[in-house]
Subunit: 345 residues, 2 copies
DNA sequence: CCCATCTGTGTAATCGATTCCACAAGGAGG
DNA sequence: CCTCCTTGTGGAATCGATTACACAGATGGG
């Protein structure tokens, strides 16, 4: 592969001049410039990003450590992050932690070793020493979706409180009184917050959230299945199950289906995180939708601001409730759909 | 951030010795080794991967250019690729081409500039000059899922022929005779092959695949919706729609639902690529399942073999049919489920 | 006792870029 | 005509690692 020396030789100039042309430094003669450009063309030269990074101490790369690539929420987040980063001249390296703190550390360490310019993290746990050290060492960092309390790092996230209140209002309006939640790991902020928001919303209706109705999940489908089975085995099972993420909702659907029960007739279901498939599940699932794309973009903007020495503030955007049929009768005033539909066919 | 010089100073040895300890070169005294290790510890030293890469001309990084991160198939592929790569001591940088040749080129160029050790590509098109140049220049490369004919690069993919034959047999057995397909882009091998496999399987039953029943999609949901609307507008609409990927199947579901029609009563649906949500859609969707995880792992093994100078062969694994209810009555001999279910509740 | 061999270590070249500094040539002003 | 600037260019240091080579000191065989 051709190096800057080859280009210099071909153009009959020094490497310094080639470098100046490539970084369009002002003091280069028109003549030298065209000769260099021609040499670049004939040799098919591309600057070595590794060498450049070593010298300039910048990689123009952001690291993104997410908790689970198989979760459509994070996948969408990753996509918007990459898009915004590309628009700002940065590349993104994604690390998938699979909700495992050790894997998360592996990726953080790897990204740091590669001297990425900044780190976007959705922490799987309360913060490993490694990550705290990185913050202390001054690595530009931004938390997205989840964060670690007590660490001075901007946080970009959605506030689901209002949407969860709307959800509980909706459920209460449908006559449901025994509401249960499949919680995320207590080590994550989203794991705790969603339970808290749910509990607060319930108490506004004088409803309680007994321990038996708080199932401990880990944001993965299997845990949703397991917890839901536990709920169904209770002497008095809940009337509604609220899954704190979409994968646990999937697991809950699996469990309900395995018992030959039906949603929402036998048990209602709602989920945090809206995904496209929820429109077509049986039944369509009521969910709290986050402005995922906007979160990703805001996170990148905040991180790049930090990298370039500007402030870079935290951002909180509201989530909103999307009502579908998984909690009971159709929400709006339209007549029940099924009979109408059949007559159409 | 501490460099190897700082470690050398702290340990009272030369940088060469530090390097030797770090790469456990045999000829280092036990004394020097412990002093270096202690210095590494106190300084929290981590080798600079950028500098190391420049010197050794290896980045221990693979590039993966996929067509669409939002497609669960590719997401799963990416995950297995990263896992296997990690097991073999490599990191992965993912580039999302979004089915756009220009973006694909952007990522290939970017990855090449970063001097990745090898490239895993699922090409969006017939092969840009850039990619062909890279192959010619000797960049270790492996195609996964899709490939470019006439290019000497190992291909790791699934063969769906048998599964598509099974699908057509299943559909024929259910009495369907007018079968349509939502094809992928003709520029992709999977786009063409799936249509061909479908046509061949049909002809075995004396069935024809008229042009009106071949809709041109682009592997994205919107195109699935658009094509399906076209099918439904036909004077004689098909009885079955086979979507060449899961996102177009999602679009098809959207279109059918928007018309107030039902699957499979009004029109049957099948898809290439099985995803977890197909179990819970209304109705559960019959699909051709690829051994995605195994494909990803095999692709990485082939690529790493090439990188390390070993042969690295092509791999073709069979896909298989997963029958659900979206094409008509339950496949097995069990009695119809719905009434039984209701009685359980 | 001498020379060959082996061990452990340091010096310095190297990878491919960027950039400081020196300097030559040319133009402007006195 | 001499100085002072400006402009364009090249030489060389530098980033942080790896590694070829030289070499000092210890060891061992004849």
């Amino acid at each position: 592969m051709a190096s800057i020396k080859d280009v210099a030789a071909e153009a009959g100039v020094s490497v310094a001049t080639v470098s100046r042309v490539l970084n369009d430094h002002p003091s280069v003669s028109a003549d030298a410039r065209t000769r260099v450009l021609a040499a670049v063309e004939t040799l098919g030269y591309r600057p070595n990003a590794v060498a450049r990074s070593l010298r300039t101490d910048q990689t123009h790369t952001l690291g993104l450590v997410i908790s689970d690539v198989l979760n459509p929420y994070f996948t969408e987040l990753a996509r918007s992050v990459e898009e915004e980063a590309r628009a700002l001249g940065y590349s993104v390296i994604i690390g998938n932690a699979d909700e495992r703190p050790d894997l998360q550390d592996h990726h953080v360490r790897n990204l740091l070793d590669r001297r990425i310019d900044g780190l976007l993290v959705s922490p799987t746990d309360g913060g490993s020493p490694l990550m705290l050290d990185a913050v202390r060492a001054g690595t530009p960092m931004v938390f997205v979706d989840r964060w670690i309390p007590g660490v001075d790092v901007p946080v970009v996230r959605a506030d689901g409180r209002a949407a969860v209140r709307d959800l509980v209002a909706h459920l209460h309006g449908l006559g449901h009184r025994r509401l249960a939640i499949i919680a995320g790991p207590a080590a994550t902020t989203t794991g705790r917050e969603r339970v808290e928001a749910f509990r607060e919303a319930l108490s506004a209706y004088g409803l309680d959230l007994p321990d038996a109705y708080i199932g401990q999940g880990d944001f993965q489908a299997d845990s949703g299945r397991r917890v839901t089975e536990g709920f169904l085995d209770l002497p008095e099972p809940p009337e509604v199950v609220f899954a704190a993420d979409n994968l646990m909702a999937l697991g809950a659907l699996d469990a309900v289906r395995a018992r030959g029960l039906r949603v929402p007739d036998d048990i209602a279901l709602a989920a945090f995180d809206d995904i496209r498939w929820f429109v077509h599940t049986d039944p369509p699932v009521t969910a709290v939708a986050q402005p995922t794309g906007e979160l990703g973009r805001a996170a990148v903007r905040a991180l790049v601001a930090r990298i370039e020495g500007r402030p870079g503030e935290s951002v909180t955007l509201p989530a909103r409730l999307v009502v579908r049929r998984s909690c009971g009768e159709a929400p709006s005033a339209v007549p029940p759909l099924s009979p109408v539909r059949r007559s159409t066919s």
